[in-house]
């Protein structure tokens, strides 16, 4: 008896079973789906050698395309975290005729083939089409310019922000706003100090998703961007160009740089998010 009581317990009993199995499956899956392809990419680009790799990365056209890609993506995600929460707010707070239709429309950019979105946007903004001539008169050029890339990326990124913020906003108690009002806060103070802070983690998640989607976007952008090297050429397009030249090493090289930058940005956003959740008292 005594011996069996003193036996060392290797496994702590837990109410949530299957930790080992679950973690094993998760890691295997991640390995197969994400890590092995990425590893292959990095191996492929390592065929370049260090000095060739550096030369490729510092090539002005590559640098320009990376700047365009990441710059436009950041800008588009930034636009979306302003208007996305606003849309979510309207959908959560107000009851109006056609609300369900608007709600369903939010998801359209998810469902639409991106090429279709690109063609649609180009049709609107091209210099001889609907908005194009009007905007040209006031000196704004959207189609075949970096601005066009941002427009396309805003379009495809919007649902990510709306859909992450919406449920959090719906869970926010009305009483919080009423409490702020009884304490004498005006509407602006209530929004800034009471409503927005609890939404920050969700907004950051939406930002990260929209950004990630924007960086990888290809279909919608190439129609509206005009694809002028050094002006409106995005990195994914440059990769395709290199592939068509059968320059696989250069293509994977650019891809690796994109991968590293994207990963770094997403990591920073995730850390920011964890920090903001802790500040909210969710305990990490």
């Amino acid at each position: 008896m005594a011996a069996s009581i003193n036996t060392l317990r290797l496994r702590q009993p837990s109410v949530i079973p299957g930790f080992g199995l679950a973690l094993g499956l998760t890691l295997t899956y991640l390995l197969l789906i994400v890590l092995i392809p990425i590893g292959a990419l990095i191996m492929r680009s390592s065929a370049l050698g260090w000095s060739d790799f550096l030369k490729l990365v510092l090539d002005p056209r590559v640098v320009a395309s990376l700047k365009t890609s990441f710059g436009c993506s950041l800008l588009a995600a930034a636009v979306n975290i302003v208007f996305g929460p606003l849309l979510a707010w309207v959908l959560v707070r107000y009851r109006f005729p056609g609300r369900t239709i608007v709600d369903a429309m939010i998801d359209l950019p998810f469902a639409l083939p991106t090429a279709v979105a690109g063609i649609a946007l180009t049709t609107l903004y091209a210099p001889n089409e609907w908005f194009g001539p009007v905007l040209e008169k006031v000196g704004i050029k959207i189609a075949f310019a970096p601005a066009g890339i941002v427009v396309a990326l805003v379009f495809i990124g919007l649902p990510f922000v709306v859909r992450t913020v919406q449920p959090v906003l719906a869970d926010l108690e009305n009483e919080l706003e009423e409490a702020a009002a009884t304490l004498g806060a005006n509407r602006l103070q209530t929004v800034l100090h009471v409503i927005l802070p609890p939404l920050v983690p969700a907004i950051l998640t939406g930002f990260a998703l929209a950004l990630a989607r924007a960086i990888g976007e290809y279909g919608s952008v190439i129609f509206i961007a005009g694809n002028l090297p050094f002006v409106s050429e995005i990195a994914p397009l440059l990769i395709v160009v290199r592939l068509e030249e059968f320059n696989y090493a250069a293509a994977t090289g650019i891809a690796t740089v994109m991968l590293v930058i994207s990963f770094a940005m997403l990591l920073i956003i995730n850390l920011l998010q964890a920090w903001s959740r802790r500040r909210l008292g969710y305990g990490g």
Partner: protein, 351 residues
């Protein structure tokens, strides 16, 4: 601050929540709005706060008509049932919120705010918790923080919506006593909503009993318990049994038995008699008493509770000192020593 509610009516989507309610609250008074759910008590509280606006009628703060004043302008302290603390702010920031959002010219300096926060935390018996977050506190502690936050703006009136509704019984009892202390210390005019009669009777100077959007009775604990103005109040406050009786010339009859309770003048014919379980005696003689049969008997602390079914088939609850009658069973005669007779038409039943 005196508060006067004058002929207030409130409709939600044409469904009336309050009908023509009038109520005068004296400065420094502690008032309970008591009633079952749907009685309009929370609506009345929110109207006083300015979280709702009356469809008709007016609300005066002192001599000033506050009906059209926004909630911010009314300067009321409001405590919500579920605390409504700002989770992303520390306890200190929560309490300071009302002071920090003031316009520049009326905002106290930082040091002054910090001093006030620690003073309020002392008042609510939570000293030194400025830097904690609401998620780190228990329910009772959170509600005390909510009260401190409401008091920070030096409100003209303190309003509490079921302040202890979400807490367990022991904590409720402690907080109740403590709220009374805080009220006596600060002297704020205080109105709180509750559906718990024990809470209302113990805590309030005056109890406002509400039912179906109307005020049934306003009075002290003794008034509403001993002199209920309607069948509803009688059956809602405390325990009661009801018997159909007939009144002939001031004499109350249950069947053929002439009971020793008296009816108010003006009541004649069929009527309803309401009895408290402790106002009924067991007698040996059938004369002027109600014949019945004990169907159940159980011990409750110092009391014994009997369920009696009368010969007419009505249920009556009787409580007796436990020592007085060790075990009573079978046929008994009941003699009510006190009771209240209401005309048969009078409406209202608790529920």
């Amino acid at each position: 601050m005196d508060i006067s509610i004058r002929n207030v009516r409130k409709e939600f989507d044409r469904y009336p929540a309050l009908h023509d309610v009038s109520l005068d609250i004296r400065s420094g008074e502690l008032i309970a709005l008591l009633g079952p759910s749907g009685s309009g008590k929370t609506t009345l509280l929110r109207l006083i706060a300015g979280l709702e606006y009356p469809s008709e009628g007016a609300i005066y703060f002192g001599d000033e008509d506050a009906s059209d004043r926004s909630v911010g302008e009314r300067n009321v302290g409001f405590v919500f049932q579920h605390y409504a603390l700002f989770k992303h702010m520390t306890i200190g920031a929560n309490i300071a919120f009302g002071l920090k959002v003031r316009p520049h010219d009326r905002r106290p300096p930082r040091v002054e705010i910090a001093r006030k926060v620690s003073e309020l935390l002392n008042l609510v018996h939570l000293p030194g918790l400025e830097r904690r977050f609401p998620s780190q506190l228990s329910g009772g502690q959170r509600q005390r923080v909510a009260l401190a936050r409401a008091l920070a703006i030096e409100p003209r009136v303190l309003l509490l919506d079921e302040p202890f509704g979400a807490l367990d019984a022991q904590v409720r009892r402690d907080l109740r006593r403590w709220l009374r202390e805080v009220h006596d210390q600060t002297g704020h005019t205080t109105v709180f909503v509750t559906h718990d009669q024990e809470e209302a009777l113990e805590l309030a100077d005056r109890v406002v009993v509400m039912s179906q959007g109307r005020i049934e009775q306003i009075g002290s604990a003794d008034d509403v318990y001993d002199r209920p103005s309607s069948p509803f109040v009688f059956s809602f406050i405390g325990e009661s049994s009801e018997l159909p009786v007939s009144v002939r010339g001031g004499q109350v009859f249950y069947g053929d038995a002439a009971l020793s309770v008296t009816a108010n003048s003006g009541i004649e014919g069929t009527a309803r008699l309401f009895l408290r379980p402790h106002d009924i005696e067991i007698v040996h003689d059938g004369d002027g008493a109600i014949a019945g049969k004990v169907t159940a008997s159980h011990r409750d602390g110092g009391l014994r509770r009997l369920d009696v079914v009368t010969s007419g088939g009505h249920r009556i609850e009787v409580t007796l000192p436990a020592a007085q009658c060790p075990d009573i069973a079978g046929d008994v005669y009941l003699s009510p020593s006190r009771g209240q007779v209401y005309p048969a038409g009078a409406d209202g039943k608790a529920g």
